[in-house]
């Protein structure tokens, strides 16, 4: 029986502290030349698709624009259409918010991208109920948090009707939308774009099992990955879908070296660069909910407790629900590791490489992970723009091919072809 094949996607390194802008090799994340270099390299590596994240308001920390990470990005649709001009097979995935867009316009934009790329478009659906972001839009902060997925589902249902209308009139009415008219664009080369989803809540998983073609997950270990994989794919039967109709791709970082020791050293260097002294304090402030600028990043954790009610960072997803428990856990961890400084602790807890080793070893780790059904592949998040994928494509991809678990050529021109998906 042939081996299960690995799917690879690549995140264009953008706005977060994964991107090491202080590295002399770090280029612009907005110049089109960066997108060209990154995309063409991903295509050389036979990746399924590249993917752009989205933010619709600049993040704030303590009431001011967060200034420590890369900030600023081009418009998703516009840059993906331009990338379509300099690539031929690479899928083009864009995160587009379901809250601050309207179905007719969004359907037209995605149909245009899919036609103009010859069938390579993918939509990563994200939801928001965020009044902070809403301040940039007519809608404002109108959405109750519980309605996020309702709106996402109704948005998708409406968009699908438009994409597949093929001349038939549209008469869509739901709690969120009333849409009547004739959609002017015929079905696209893929029928409609590939749908990607990334929510990890129960509601998010259900939405993914029902609707998604690909899932971005964030489960790093084999055990966690297997549990998520089994859970998500297990939910699909209820919707009349087969497990292979969804490709699960955990986000992962990597560090390579010619020897194991060199790879470890590179990994350590990257982690350190991702957490500057100022970034370490800012991360701590997110949990503590107070100004900690007086603390030495090379010193011990603050002896004051977090303010559990405070949220001083806006515009970024908050993963820590209980700051007092986090502080307690971090203090124990710092102690157990022989007295970690603030910066050492933040490096330890926030920025880890999933795959570190020689190209051969990283290929083997990835293959093991996928063959164990912990995922169907990976979305790689390199730490450098635009060259962060170069070494991976040059050295790891051939190793994956040698293992017999990675394509040596694209099977067809569309992203659905790469993912083995039928036309809807």
């Amino acid at each position: 029986m042939p081996k299960k094949q690995i799917h690879l996607a690549a995140h264009f390194p953008g706005v977060n502290n994964t991107t090491v802008w202080s590295d002399p090799e770090s280029g612009s994340q907005t110049d089109f030349a960066s997108f060209v270099a990154f995309a063409q390299n991903a295509e050389r590596g036979l990746f399924d698709f590249l993917f752009l994240a989205e933010g619709l308001r600049l993040r704030e920390h303590q009431g001011r624009i967060h200034d420590l990470d890369v900030v600023g990005r081009p418009d998703t649709f516009t840059v993906l259409n331009a990338i379509a001009a300099v690539t031929t097979h690479l899928g083009l995935g864009g995160t587009i918010n379901t809250t601050f867009n309207e179905p007719w316009e969004l359907a037209k934009q995605f149909a245009s991208l899919d036609h103009l790329s010859g069938g390579r478009a993918a939509w990563n659906l994200v939801t928001s109920s965020d009044a902070f972001t809403g301040e940039n839009f007519r809608r404002g902060g109108f959405l109750e948090p519980a309605q996020r997925y309702d709106r996402a589902q109704q948005m998708l249902d409406a968009a699908r009707e438009l994409w597949l209308a093929d001349g038939r009139p549209i008469d869509h009415h739901s709690a969120q939308f009333d849409i009547v008219g004739d959609f002017p664009i015929p079905p696209t080369p893929q029928g409609h774009p590939v749908l990607i989803q990334s929510g990890d809540s129960d509601q998010g998983r259900e939405f993914g099992a029902k609707t998604a073609d690909a899932i971005f997950s964030r489960h790093g270990s084999v055990e966690d990955g297997q549990a998520f994989y089994a859970d998500l794919k297990g939910r699909m039967g209820a919707y009349g879908r087969r497990p292979e109709e969804i490709t699960i791709l955990p986000a992962t970082t990597f560090a390579l070296g010619d020897t194991e020791a060199e790879a470890q050293e590179n990994g350590h260097r990257i982690r350190t660069a991702q957490v500057s002294p100022q970034t370490a304090i800012a991360f701590l402030e997110q949990v503590w909910g107070r100004d900690l600028s007086a603390y030495d990043p090379d010193g011990p954790l603050p002896d004051v407790d977090p303010d559990p009610g405070a949220q001083i960072t806006r515009g970024r997803v908050r993963h820590e629900k209980d700051p007092l428990a986090v502080a307690q856990r971090w203090r124990e961890l710092a102690e157990a590791k022989g007295g970690l400084s603030i910066r050492e602790l933040i490096i330890e807890t926030t920025a880890h490489q999933s795959f570190v080793g020689t190209p051969k070893e990283v290929a083997r780790q990835m293959d093991d992970y996928v063959q164990a059904d912990a995922s169907d592949g990976f979305i790689l998040i390199p730490h450098l723009t635009p060259g962060g994928l170069d070494e991976f494509v040059e050295k790891v991809v051939p190793e994956l091919q040698d293992l017999g678990s990675y394509r040596t050529e694209y099977a067809g021109p569309t992203l659905r072809d790469h993912l083995g998906l039928a036309r809807p």
């Binding site: 420590l68 418009d75 007519r138 008219g181 002017p184």
Partner: protein, 359 residues
Amino acid sequence: MRTAHLAVEVSGFGRHPEAWRQAGVPREALLTPAHHIAVAQLAAQSGADFVALPDSFGAGSGLDAVAIAARVAPVVPGIGLVPTVTTTHTEPFHTSKAIATLDLVSSGRAGWEPAVSRTAGEAAQFGRKPAAEPAELWREAAETIEVVVALWDSWEDDAVIRDVATGRYVDRDKLHYVDFSGEFFSVKGPSITPRSPQAHPLIVLRAEPDSLAVAARWADVVRITAPDLSAAHAARERIRAAVTDAGRDPDAVAVLLDVEILLAADENAARRRFDELGELAEETLRVVGSPEAFVDVLAEGAVDGVTAIPLTLPGGLRVLADEVAPRLLAAGLRTPADPAATLRERFGLPRPANVLTGA
């Protein structure tokens, strides 16, 4: 002699609704990138300053105009790209970053033609608000343009500092909230997209009864329609007066006359081809004739230039590129364009100072 500006407008297989019969390819070709690239290449070969890409949410519209512009930008150099983006149903924040990004991917060749959506049909496709009167639509358009321009200025050019010593990637004092609040919407800002190569992509507006004040305040280029050149000249004078009244330099605003064209080797051949297509209401000055007949329109100097609107595509552009462009150069009506020039530079316009600097 003053040189003239030349733009071309392309949509579908040309303005004539029966033009697809002469195109020699199925209508589905309009959905392929190859068609749009070929058309943009011909437009560039004609030496035009920009290609206008109309769009709307109305019946009969095609692919998204910004998408087409972005798709052709990397592979068709040397011509400005001016998509229409409507203001009635689209979020200004999205429009701002889309046009700024078109400027990034085209190395400073982007423009924007704002337009309004008048019909109940378009409103029903969004289901958010009923159709409105033109005066209201243009008040909303004015707000949209104002906030889009403010967002273009919301990053100072040197906002990215990458200061390793302090750990700061960006100087937050050089990023500005626009804090716009108007009759129709409010926008906080700043943009998520940095200031683009031209800072302000070229703003092109059509002169309509209710758009004159908006054009006087914001347009770099005003497009007019007129039945003849003397009416066009009179319209130009009215626009220049309105621009002056708005406190701007009328010489910094180019007035371009829409001219529908169907050109062939001689007038008889052009007339025959027009007759094959069938009658069509004349929306503006129309030249069905020889390349010289079109050159004569520019030579009159009644306006600052023309927007040629081929009745048929891509053939109508081929004549423009092969027959008209050399004649315009020979007559001194056009000068060879600097291929590296930004679209603003082609119109003799400076890169604007950032009004939010120091704010």
